[in-house]
């Protein structure tokens, strides 16, 4: 059974939760039990590459064309409502509007679940959750929460699933100063890639992750299994490891994953990034890459291959607002669907370089 939560159903659920909350008569003031929040990004991107569109996310069907500016890759708007019923039961609904696989801005429900706190260290969620496949993946559209304009696309190249409808178990284990956050997520997902019909079949996705936090250092290990019964069937396994050290005045962060699938073959992606915080200004640099490690039954060679050098700066110029300027050079290492591009012309060549300039304004409330 597909546990697909429709926006109307999710809204009804939250409305019900609100009513029940009132009925329990535990409410002093409404704002103590219902909280609203939102986020968004206004962005423009310019590319000097003439043979393909630059995209910021693998599901986007189109991007920035040659020598033009586009607001499509990064702009988005999200809103969230959280309802706290009792000390242990709450519900959340988050809706996001950004360009989807069909080239439309129709709002989608990203999060819609009920959370039950079983004990101080154990939480169970039922409903829709965003997949935690790699570092920052579950807040990748909350631009304000990122040090960069966007997550390096290479790390997310094989991550077609956006969210899953099912069950999520969060368990925290404390050992002295070390905290482990274990997460087990299981559910159904609907993948919708532009022009790739076989991935629009429903799939089962299971993710297990362990985030080890020791002061300002964190290590994240993840294993995700994705099974689609479509034709051809996809049995994608993603194994990843990420490391972040952020004492406040500067940060380093790196993430990697190895994806395995019979049809697509094996792929290895990683990035490393560092930045410093000089008052309200935070310059950063990123090196990111994805390269195929084997050829699958699809026969596609070197799927996704590219590498990117990025430099940028974040400026926190006002409360709850930041602006970022980012310059990146993407080098195409294969003509078989390099990760950052869509709408490739037959004249794409290995070694081609695209210089991409991005300017964004992020806000959160």
């Amino acid at each position: 059974m597909v546990l697909k939560v429709k926006p109307t159903a999710a809204a009804a659920m939250l409305a019900l939760v609100t009513v029940v909350g009132h009925a329990e008569n535990t409410i002093d003031t409404l704002d103590r039990y219902v909280t609203f929040g939102g986020f968004g990004t206004l962005g423009v991107v310019h590319s000097d590459y003439s043979q393909a569109d630059f995209i910021a996310n693998v599901v986007q069907p189109r991007g920035v064309e040659f020598r033009s500016w586009s607001a499509t890759p990064d702009s988005d708007l999200g809103a969230q409502a959280k309802v706290t019923l009792t000390d242990s039961l709450s519900g959340v609904l988050q809706v996001l509007s950004r360009e989807d696989a069909n080239g439309q801005w129709k709002p989608t429900v990203e999060w819609a679940n009920l959370q039950y706190q079983v004990s101080a260290d154990l939480k169970v969620r039922v409903g829709r959750m965003v997949l935690p496949t790699y570092q920052y993946s579950d807040t990748q559209y909350v631009g304000y929460s990122l040090p960069w304009v966007r997550i390096p696309i290479e790390i997310a190249y094989t991550d077609a699933g956006l969210h899953s409808d099912g069950l999520d178990v969060l368990y925290r284990v404390k050992t002295g100063s070390l905290t482990q956050n274990l997460q087990l997520q299981w559910g159904r997902t609907m993948v919708d890639l532009p022009g790739v019909e076989f991935t629009s079949a429903p799939a089962t996705v299971a993710v297990f992750s362990d985030t080890l936090q020791y002061g300002d250092a964190s290590l994240r290990l993840v294993y995700q299994k994705y099974s689609s019964s479509g034709n051809p069937s996809v049995q994608l396994r993603v194994t990843g490891a990420g490391l972040t050290y952020d004492p406040g005045a500067w940060f380093v962060t790196a993430d990697s994953n190895y994806s395995q699938d019979k049809f697509f073959g094996d792929l290895f992606a990683w990035y490393v990034s560092a930045g410093v915080r000089l008052g309200h200004v935070s310059p950063y640099a990123i090196y990111s890459t994805t390269h195929a490690q084997s050829v699958g039954t699809s026969g596609l060679r070197a799927l996704g291959n590219e590498h990117t050098v990025t430099a940028g700066v974040r400026w926190d110029f006002a409360k709850n607002l930041d602006t970022k300027l980012q310059l990146q050079q993407v080098t195409i290492d294969s003509v078989d669907d390099p990760a950052s591009f869509a709408d490739l012309s037959p004249r794409v060549r290995v070694g081609d370089k695209a210089n991409v300039l991005s300017l964004t304004l992020d806000f959160v409330f």
Binding site: T35, G37, F39, G78, Q80, K82, T84, S90, V92, Q94, W111, N113, Q115, A120, R125, V130, Y136, D138, T139, V142, Y144, S145, L146, L170, R172, K174, S177, T179, Q213, G215, P247, G248, A249, R277, H280, D316, K319, N320, D322, V364
Partner: protein, 120 residues
């Protein structure tokens, strides 16, 4: 409000009288949403005491704190610390809840709460 005159050496972190002591690292973890054994209570975002507390105890400024809590809030993994308008309100809340932690001016300390960290 006296908040406007806060100097660095006048800031203390307080807990309920019945609560065990907390280290600076434990306090930082609570206010950065890494642990939730205690309920952290904030002063007004952007106020001098707020800015001083986060700078001295977590090494971060207001924008970094907002970014960190945005990651937790928009994945529903945490609720940002409740803001109270002044030290008297923080003291009252901490005195009423054995699982809460707050920060106030040193001059506001009295026997209703316990100081666990003096921030200089």
């Amino acid at each position: 409000m006296a908040v406007a005159d806060v100097r660095a050496e006048e800031l203390v972190v307080i807990v309920n009288r019945a609560a065990p002591p907390l280290s600076k690292e434990q306090i930082a973890d609570l206010y950065l949403g890494r642990t939730d054994d205690f309920t952290p209570i904030d002063q007004v975002v952007g106020s001098e005491i707020y800015v001083e507390f986060y700078k001295k105890v977590t090494g971060r400024d207001s924008a970094q704190i907002k970014a960190i809590w945005s990651r937790l809030v928009f994945t529903d993994r945490g609720v940002a610390p409740k803001q109270l308008p002044n030290s008297a309100a923080v003291k009252k809340a901490v005195a009423a809840n054995p699982k809460s932690v707050g920060y106030i001016e040193k001059s506001a300390v009295d026997s209703s709460i316990k100081v666990v960290l003096a921030v200089d």
